[in-house]
Symmetry: D2
Subunit: 438 residues, 4 copies
């Protein structure tokens, strides 16, 4: 793993000249100040490798690469909506304008497509007046879209024509792939473009990113569905509340919502395999729970149990245009399996199925996410003005850091079923550690 | 229409003796004080018929039929969940206990089934301690269920054995039918049972009931889905947000949610027919809106457009066990029709479908509903203690009244498309007054 | 009482020509369609006087006085903030623009002061784009201020110079006084100005106005303070939670918040006198409650018990610049009296005092208020375009009506301690019907 | 600093025998697995001292000190209310009961006073049934109180008589002092009592505790006050919104609320001195802001500017019974100073003062705090059963750890004005780095 951050070149602009408002010297961060990746230690101390593996701190440098008053920046938001997008946009604009005295910030419409002239979208000028209240609402004022990454030299060309020096890319896995490619193309053609990513993943599944913005809002909003499922389950004879939540590859939203509401009895995530049938299968355990307690609440992440559906249907996995596996609906699948299981036993159950879908991702950022987004935006501008490039703003041990884009997209972050986090889930739900028949 | 309220017999217990806490004389309500049904007047004045059509006021009478300290009451909640159930339960218990000095209040489990001994449910004793905080949560602590009305003489028999003098039935259309039947059976066998209904209809579709509890909470909760739909629609090129809300026969929830959020462009309800295709069809209007504004928000009540689905599928209407028409999913139907329409035209759209389902009905009562439920419970106890029977507590011109159960179940309340209310909907959404091709 | 509504003159513009979107004929309202003020009836039927006392219905007329495409309107918001102001503004703009095709709507800044050129404020042009999202936030985008009513001929002069034909005045008692005066001055000088009031009183204390916008939001928001007071009282030995809420002359906010949360044991309002000391005094009853239950929650409206403070302090009532009586702080007064009372008895209590103040009035409108505001705005435009003047939009028996401004400001609406509403309060709190020593 | 955790003795009970539900081996944590205190590194690597400074990990050990089925635990909540108290109680009960099979858990009433027999409070038995829903509400079902720490041998005596083996102390600075003393007394008399603290500080000001439960809920709730202040300030000519928030010694709540809402222009905290008057004083900066922007929002932590009040009043600091400095009200002080300053200049301002007080601390835990509380409770039980004592459950680098009580009470955690956190505050508010005249 290479933790080194790319730079556009020598930083020659003194920050105090550049800034409209003076930042005290003691706030300046040096490139050599770093934070350890691994902070665990045992009787053997810390290995050489652990010591060598560390992240560069984010924050203002004493010299800038760009003269803020002379350059143009651009912000683009890509992919699905996520709480906090507007907060990050607002923060980048406010920080660029008020702290760095930069007066030209473009908002690119509808993701990377907005940099493709054939699409017919035009960038808008972002000012403090325009972004003043946008953080109070969900969504993104720039609009977003998927794709547009087929031939990114088009986008680089547009950026160069627009005279953009810093590009802030707010998006997920695909977006960061694109951002990495944009920075490579720019480098190849000698175009001095700082590409700063702000990782957006409502599922919290980007590697080396301790926490992603919008994630807390998402699972906090999802809690209402679990509350409803519990009320419904509790209010009917043999009531079963079944909730499907977001989480294609990682069950973090489902797990955190379950931990927050404390009423989930079965949590099913993509990372932990389970059987439907058999003496240790999921359905038997639901049945046991009904007999013991008269009701049950089940929360399932959308990516869970996909292999069960495939096996059942005998179908091959489908892929959508962007190459993502098209998920079969595990919620409806489980609903049908549970209903069938008890019908066969002539047992009356009352199953209520809840799928909050987009309600969760369009919510305005909760307070904690709002703070986080504000800081992400501030650090992104510090990084861009310093001429950092091909990196994202992350957080590790609660410290803001720079992470090379390549690292963040190298693999996906998932729930480790051997971690204390999953142990807490098991302790909270009371579900069996394994629902697989040997 | 017969507005007369049945009575169990002469009221001989003086209220001041019965009540632990004295109620001032000026709070006593006379049977002859009534409120007009029709309050409109024009140049011709008020017709004789209008004058003769009026409701009995609810409230404490100067004499009671029962001696509160000696009788037993029972509360039953039936049908689907609705915000405020716990509030009504709590209010009946508190009023009976603290105001009337009644110490025996039974909670029947799981609806009318809880009065059928073969089901194996047992009533619980309700006390102020038990109900103290239940109004803070959704659902019903008694549990609820549908049905149990096949042979209500079983239930009457159980009530008689339990020694119940007042039965509070909280439920909808079917429940009130049942309550009416229970009161008739009791009358026939000379069992002095006061049956007091508290109408529960989250859809607000019970006749002669100006407003039903939980309805405001329901549409207020639904607003979050419309907010999400708007944010999604606004954030994507040609974004369409499609929300399905409750409302089998009446579109009140959908209409009020749309009026509250002000961002719905098309509201579809069961009461107003629309065409899908053609120059004045719904799809053409959606297309026009997209061309004009780049996004559209659609809100549809679950009972809307059923005839379109039938026509399309050539299927006959299905009915479920309780004789309710099984609705085809208009939300998924529209989603498919809209997608197909634009696919055929090779137009890119981004449709996001939201169905909040049970989230809406399991929410705790909002403040205004909480007040309403508290009062409904108080008036229900006043009515029961006075020996009123076969009636519900309603509200007309903001006055609490007694309505014969038979009247409330005689027909359903629906949106009148010629009313000022629907005019306000049209003014707010800006949708065409008619989407039917001549 | 004169229920007749003033008119600027003959209505000659056909509505279907004026409207961009056709309104169906069946939505047209005639001046002769009216709604009864008194809807109660007893054995004697309805008196002649009752029949003669009725309100004119609001709504679109078949002919307009103004040609909407040619006139200019203006909106002004005055006095203290109230939830829903932005909703009303938005609705007036949307209705004028989209339904009546009117393209010139001015927003007056900071109340009537904004019409006084010496203040240096300038009106802003309001368009659908500008008001699109304002209903999601509290406050008023126009700003508000008190006063500016010293010499209203200045304001009339400004309006005339600006060429304003309809003035929408959103405000309370003082504002409506002003609006009435403005309409009189205009009439005197032959200036055809329609003055339409939208009554704003967070306290819900305007006469002939069944319900005022923002009131429900206010008491719903206040519920959080009562919740907190209860949690605090319940969590400490001899805990007392004391909440002060808005309500200078009318205790509606306090009463409704108390009814909604159900945990208030003592509700004190301006309309109901109480003694502090003596065997039937408030403090003795608090002491009794503590002995019985170990904690107590008290909710007091700011205008309650003023005569107690005066008596105690021997001071004469003070008046502020606008002639309003300067209230002494009943919350802090009670806090001190309660603390002193138990200190004298060497009894440990834990009193927590909560005053949510402006949190309540700056909240965004709740869903129900949002609907109400939308409708108020729509009806205000219907009235203005029809040339109605010197009237407000009100609601009676849930019907939107026109009320002459003079009537609404003739006296204040207060809680009637002999009403069913107050009976419900007593039933809910369990407090004594009287805390006055004979 | 001594990071070593005290232990009651050898752990001899195998966990798998003790637990009703098997915990997988891989979840077992060893005493030797530790986490670094300092995770920063620069060109010189990590110092020996840094390597040696590390925390013991919390979590289940492979052997227990107590046999869970045979012992009795007790939970006590002390001091002021804080969001999440009920969540922690619930989690301890659920974990003890369901995971460790412990059936005797006492709830001590009203803090340490509940262990003093002369007070007349009696412990209650806590079961899963009782605590099932308590996490949905604020406060503590056990009640809380200050003090009771005069002679803790009384409390130890009570605990011994009750046969308590594990005491969970949930409380702040004073409570932890008491817990430490209790563990010392027990040790001295050879009473094998595990004392496990769960640090409670709504102000987030306990050392070595990265994050304290309830803190996020507190500042998130406080955001509503800042929202209100902004709406009020924005809605009036020269509007000033002034909010006072909790924070006696540390301004974390105020700072986080300000960062979350982004509309605060001046944040005043105890850690950063400011002058009122002079060319670089606070009042001058407020004046400048009003001239530039027409309104200003100020947020002040209750402990800020105390020396200004003292200087002004010439009074000596007062102390309350428990030795805490009695704070003078900085909110009212500033209100008066600001008003006076502008009055002298004959400048009209509109100042609205908001003090949400107890609303903030009685709120139910937000989702993220709820998760945190659940985990704290789970780890506390792991620690207690393993015979750890005189320690608290903390979190460092997002890892749950054991911290000796003595360390946590050795000094207070405050905002470092030279930290990136404060830099973010300055960047967000735009206030001067210093408001002190040289």
């Amino acid at each position: 793993m290479d933790f080194a951050i790319k730079s556009l070149g020598e930083r020659t602009v003194k920050i105090n000249e550049a800034l409209l408002d003076k930042i005290e010297d003691n706030y300046i961060v040096s490139d050599s100040r770093r934070v350890l990746y691994n902070t665990f230690i045992d009787e053997n101390g810390l290995s050489e490798e652990s010591l060598a593996t560390n992240f560069e701190l984010a924050g203002p440098r004493d010299r800038l690469y760009f003269d803020p008053s002379k350059i143009k920046s651009a912000i683009v938001t890509c992919g699905g909506l996520c709480p906090g997008l507007n907060n990050v946009i607002r923060s980048i604009v406010m920080q660029s304008w008020h702290k760095y005295g930069s007066r030209s910030i473009l908002g690119i419409k509808y993701g990377y497509n907005g940099l493709n002239p054939t699409k017919g979208y035009y960038p808008i000028e972002l000012t403090p007046e325009i972004v003043r209240d946008i953080h109070l609402e969900g969504g993104t004022i720039l609009g977003s879209s998927r794709g547009g990454t087929e031939d990114l030299s088009i986008q680089v060309n547009t950026l160069q024509k627009l005279g953009v020096s810093i590009l802030y890319c707010i998006g997920g896995d695909g977006t960061l792939h694109g951002a990495h490619e944009i920075s490579q193309i720019a480098e190849k053609i000698g175009y001095k473009l700082a590409v700063i990513g702000v990782p957006k993943t409502i599922d919290n599944d980007i590697s080396y990113i301790q926490r992603s913005f919008g994630f807390e809002t998402a699972f906090s909003t999802a809690v209402a569905s679990i509350y409803a499922a519990h009320i419904e389950a509790d209010g009917a004879p043999n009531g079963i509340g079944l909730v499907k939540l977001m989480g294609r590859h990682s069950g973090f939203i489902a797990a955190n919502a379950a931990l927050a509401m404390n009423t989930v009895n079965f949590l099913l995530v993509p990372e932990v395999r389970f059987d439907l049938y058999g003496p240790n299968g999921f359905l038997k355990h639901v049945e046991d729970r009904l007999q013991r307690r008269g009701h049950a609440v089940i929360c399932v992440a959308e990516g869970a149990g996909q292999e069960l559906i495939e096996k059942e249907s005998g179908q091959q996995k489908k892929f959508d245009a962007s190459g993502n596996a098209a998920l079969d609906d595990i919620g409806l699948f489980l609903k049908s399996k549970i209903t069938g299981y008890f019908k066969e036993k002539n047992a009356e159950i009352n199953l209520k199925y809840i799928d909050p879908s987009y309600i969760i991702r369009s919510a305005p950022a909760c307070s904690n996410d709002s703070i986080f987004c504000t800081m992400l935006g501030q650090y992104a501008v510090h990084a861009g003005m310093a001429g950092k490039t091909d990196c994202v703003i992350g957080q590790w041990n609660n410290i803001f850091i720079h992470v090379p884009i390549e690292m963040t997209i190298s693999k996906r972050k998932t729930i480790d079923s051997r971690s204390p986090f999953w142990r807490s889930v098991l302790e909270t739900t009371g579900q069996p550690a394994s629902m697989v028949n040997e």
